[in-house]
């Protein structure tokens, strides 16, 4: 009985603490004020584990067809480049202003600091899932609501080759016909 009372007290205290935090306004939600290291680590680990698990059964198609680069390149330029940058570009208003900062996709995954990216297939699965479903409260939209899987795989194919492209190659591939 005593244990039950103690548990009940803990639950009530927990709810009271959560309510205080929510309604006192002490949590700063400003994007120009970074999380503490612990909170950032918690959120990043949760995100990466969630994506890895959700994407593990996705089958990766053949992504070497040049047509995929052409279709994916045009979409990337219009939908992604303002946040994830173009070859030769170091930052943009969006890449500086968003928090968490969107990854710079013009550099190879190995050059990114932080979490593991896995092999080529794992990277492709992850990119496909993130483009299709987006990420909550991060600024990353769910493009799957308006784009079919074929177009999303084309973007994945383009992103695979993006770190190897020069600004001139990027201009040609992403230009409108």
């Amino acid at each position: 009985m005593k244990i039950l009372k103690l548990l009940l007290l803990l639950v009530v205290l927990g709810i009271a603490a959560a309510t205080t935090v929510i309604y006192s306004g002490i949590v700063n939600v400003a994007a120009d004020e970074p999380h503490s290291d612990l909170v950032y680590w918690l959120l990043e680990e949760t995100r990466e584990t969630s994506i890895k698990k959700a994407a593990e059964d996705i089958e990766v198609p053949d992504l070497v067809d040049p047509e995929l680069l052409l279709s994916g390149g045009v979409d990337y330029n219009f939908m992604c480049a303002s946040c994830h940058l173009k070859p030769g570009q170091k930052e943009s208003d969006m890449s500086v202003g968003l928090y968490p900062a969107p990854p710079n996709l013009t550099i190879s995954a190995e050059s990114h600091e932080g979490h593991e990216h896995g092999d080529d297939a794992q990277k492709a699965r992850k990119n496909f899932w993130v483009i299709k479903h987006g990420i909550k409260a991060s600024g990353m939209p769910a493009w799957g609501k308006t784009h079919d899987d074929k177009r999303i795989w084309a973007m994945v194919a383009f992103i695979n080759r993006l770190p190897t492209l020069t600004p001139e190659q990027y201009q040609i591939i992403t230009a409108i016909e």
Partner: protein, 107 residues
């Protein structure tokens, strides 16, 4: 007392109004950076000697530039209506004939 107050207010207004007007129109940087215009491929920058034609990137670039070249030549063909040009020639000839006729009639 009143005139002093009016003078102070008008001085403040003189400083504040231009400052507010200017700050409203000021922007952090060139708005052109946000404009997204559809660009044509700049194929003149393609260096064929350095390209590996088996590489999907090179193949994609070649495809894009070939399509663009075809599209622009089609446009050129579309603009020139040969049938009309023939008619124009005929019209020219007819006009010249008429002019000669007129000149002859004048004699």
């Amino acid at each position: 007392m009143k005139t002093n107050l009016i003078k102070t207010i008008s001085k403040i207004a003189l400083v504040l109004i231009p400052t507010l007007t200017l700050s409203m129109t000021a922007s952090a940087h060139d708005p052109k950076l946000h404009a997204k215009k559809p660009e044509k491929a700049d194929c003149s920058k393609m260096d064929h000697s350095k390209m590996d034609m088996k590489d999907p990137v090179a193949m994609a670039m070649m495809k894009k530039c070939m399509k663009q070249a075809e599209a622009s030549s089609d446009k050129m063909d579309g603009k020139m209506d040969h049938s009309k040009m023939m008619d124009d020639k005929m019209d020219d000839k007819d006009m010249k004939k008429d002019m000669k006729k007129d000149e002859h009639d004048n004699h």
